[in-house]
Every structure is written in structure tokens, then in C-alpha cells.
Amino acid sequence: MVASRVLLAAGCVACFTHAGAGEVQVAVAANFAAPAKQLAERYARASGHQLSLSTGSTGKFYAQIRNGAPFDVLLSADDETPRRLEQEQRAVGGSRFTYAIGKLVLWSSSEGVVDAKGDVLRRAAFKRLAIANPRLAPYGAAAQQVMEKLGVWSALQDRLVQGENIAQTYQFVSTGNAELGFIAYSQIREPGKSPAGSSWLVPQALYAPIQQDAALLQRGAGNRAAGQFLEFLRTAAARELIQAYGYGLP
């Protein structure tokens, strides 16, 4: 009896199957990595449950979840992916909600490059403008909408460089290889600090809202800690922290 229990325990350690009660595997969109870390720490302190965060692109998570990736919760960079997962019954019906609304910012790591109205786009006195790939990343699609609205999209075509995701786009700009770029406001917005360089927080009227939805995945359906984490995301304390990172809320 004891021996079989030891074997069972050893088997569990070896096979990494379902995390034990009180452990939640969360897939987090790259742009939300920093606040998610803070939220996970607070939630762990308050509840005693452990969160394990994996950050990456939403498209990759979608493919992985479809192929049996061991995630309980998805914090997506869009609203489309959670909706699709729910339709495919890979997410628990009715568990979706908007945990953050992304804000787009035009940013340069140098002072005085980006003005407060974004006129720099019309003057076009730069060589490279970085955006996230509009086909893959919601922030990239939003950047395209902004430039189309401003009527500079086709004029700037040959100066665009594309990051695979918003984190890579940030790298292009922060290393100075692109003089400026459209990134997530949360990437340059650390609570209590003013952003370095120069930036233009793009008015919401210029692009469709970037709704970032969370969903409870099928694997997390029986995991109480996973459901509680989603509830925690809706508490006033969590919302305050999300806002402090420069996100909007519904």
C-alpha cells in the first residue's frame, strides 16, 4: 500500500500531468507580462495558490491549446481568440470577460522625436518605424488603423519594420534601430514612473478598442484556484493595478 503510494507520487512528479490543487497554469499575452507577474504575486499571497505564468503570443497559445497544452487560464491579447476557443469548446462557456483594454502609444527612446500630437508621422523625418505584424498582433492591427486614418499608411510603407509580436517591436525601438514605433502603452508605463524618451498616446478614436479577454480553459474547469484567479482579476485591487500599468477597463 505504502509502496504503491510512493510509486504514485513518483509517477506524478515524473509525468507533470495535471497540476495539483492550488496550482494554476496561466498563458499570458506578451504585452500583459509585467502586470500579470504583479497580479500573480498578490494572488498567491492572498490565496496561498501558486500561479505559473507562461508568456508568449496569443496565436501560438491558440495552436498549443488546440493541441493539448496544459493551461488552465488564457489572458489573451485580443477578444477573438477566447471567443474561438469557446466555440470550439476548448474554453468554458460563459467564462470570458475583458480584463484590460489595451492602449496604443507611438514611442521613441530618444527625447524630442515624437511630439504630443503625432505630427511626426506626417513630417516623416525618420528612416524606420516599427509596428507589430498587423496580421498577427492586435497592437499591429491598431497601428495600421491609426496610420490609415491619418492618411499616411501608404506613404510610410517602405519605412515600416515589423516585429513578430509587440515585445519584439519594443526591442526594435528601445535599441534605437527603429527611431520610433507603435507599441503597447503598458510597455513603457511602469507604475509611479514617467516614461523615458518621447511618446504620443494615440487617441482612442483612431483605432478600434483592443479588448483583451480572459477565459477559463477546459483543463482548468475543475481547478478551483483557476476560477478564483479569474474572480480575483475583477476585484477592485486587481483593476487598480491593471490601470496603473496603463490599461483601460470596460
Binding site: G59, N133, L136, Q168, Q171, F172, T175
Partner: protein, 222 residues
């Protein structure tokens, strides 16, 4: 179709990279195979280093080094060349670093296998150093050159992480096959991705098959 642009770009990148690597890698390999200097160890280790770093990490450091505040970027800017990231030249340099060990190591092994004696024999017959290299060493090291070309070319075709980091996904300039393929996968266009992946595998198989069979025949003839 934009995928054909990526195919053509990838072939050009692999060809240019392999050619330049042969020019640079041959003297390095020759020196490594012949030298008794204490520098042999350190230089050999540096040549092998690109094997260690994950390609995206290597790409990230190239992005920093070739950027405006990096050492390489400072040099290219002062020469009036501008910055290398997001250009074809930048990709060639990144690919050369990334594929360097794949070209140098087969050559070094081939040169070491030949040993000193054929060279000495040729020297006693009055052949100069260049003459000896091209008429004695190159034919004898043929399998090594073939392996270097195959590995350098194939490794560059399949390169992904470095290009992703310093390329910027510009069609016709830096959007290579692997990045286009990745794009399709991420956009959930699995059909287009499968075609591209299958085509890439088939093409590479045929090229490798042709080169390997020719190499084998050459070895049998000798």
C-alpha cells in the same frame, strides 16, 4: 505570390552567405588545422560559439551591437553605411556568424586529415604555396568542401531566430522563407503553412540528395 518572393530571397541569402563563408572560413580552417599557436584553442572555441547561443538570443545581441548605440553600429554609421538591421546586408552578416562553425569545422577536419606530407612532397617538386594549396589541398579536401557547402547552405535556408530578430519582416528584403512560414502558422493559415513547409522539405531533400550522391561518386572515383 509573396511566398515566391520569400523563396527567392532565401536562396539568394543562402548562396551569398555560403560563398562568403567559404572565402572567410577556408583560411580560418587552414590556420586552425596547421597552427601550433596557443591561440588555436581560443579561436576554435570562438568559431564554435554560435552553436551554443539560442538563435533568437544571438539575434538580439546582433540587434544591439548593430544598433546606433552598439559597437558595430557606430562603425557602420561612421563609414556612411547606415545601420545594418532590417537590411539584406545585415542578414548576410548575421547568417555568416550563425553558420560559421558549419563551414569551418568540416574544412578544418578535412585539412587535418590530409596532413603535412602531400604539401611537403609538392614543395620538394618546386610548387609554390598557392600552387600547392589549389592543386594539392583543394582536390584532396573535396569532401570537406562539399560538406561545408551543404551544411552552410542548408543551415542558412533553415535559419529563423536570427532573421526574426534583426530582419523586421520586410517583403523582398528580409522576409525569408522560415519567417513567411512562421507568419502563416501564427495567423492560423495552416494550409499555406503546410504547403510551404512541404515544399521547403522537398526542395532541401532534393538538393541534399544531389549533392550527397555526387559527393559519393566523386569519392568512389578517387
Amino acid at each position: 505570390m509573396s511566398d515566391w518572393t520569400a523563396v527567392w530571397l532565401t536562396l539568394r541569402l543562402a548562396a551569398v552567405t555560403t560563398l562568403l563563408l567559404l572565402l572567410i572560413g577556408t583560411p580560418i580552417a587552414w590556420w586552425l588545422a596547421r597552427t601550433r599557436s596557443w591561440l588555436k584553442g581560443p579561436v576554435g572555441a570562438v568559431v564554435a560559439l554560435p552553436l551554443v547561443l539560442p538563435p533568437t538570443v544571438l539575434g538580439f545581441y546582433l540587434l544591439v551591437a548593430m544598433g546606433p548605440s552598439g559597437a558595430v553600429g557606430a562603425v557602420t554609421q561612421s563609414l556612411g553605411l547606415g545601420l545594418l538591421p532590417f537590411t539584406f546586408a545585415g542578414l548576410v552578416i548575421g547568417s555568416m556568424i550563425y553558420s560559421l562553425p558549419f563551414v569551418v569545422q568540416p574544412l578544418q577536419t578535412a585539412f587535418e586529415t590530409i596532413g603535412e606530407r602531400p604539401m611537403e612532397a609538392a614543395a620538394t617538386l618546386g610548387a609554390g604555396p598557392w600552387d600547392r594549396f589549389f592543386t594539392v589541398v583543394v582536390p584532396l579536401a573535396r569532401p570537406g568542401f562539399l560538406a561545408a557547402i551543404i551544411l552552410g547552405f542548408a543551415h542558412t535556408i533553415g535559419e529563423f531566430g536570427v532573421v526574426l530578430m534583426i530582419g523586421g519582416n520586410i517583403p523582398g528584403t528580409t522576409k525569408v522563407l522560415s519567417v513567411a512560414l512562421y507568419d502563416h502558422v501564427e495567423a492560423l493559415e495552416y494550409g499555406a503553412a503546410h504547403w510551404l513547409a512541404a515544399g521547403m522539405l522537398l526542395f532541401s531533400f532534393l538538393v541534399l540528395l544531389a549533392m550527397y550522391s555526387r559527393g559519393l561518386r566523386a569519392a568512389e572515383l578517387r
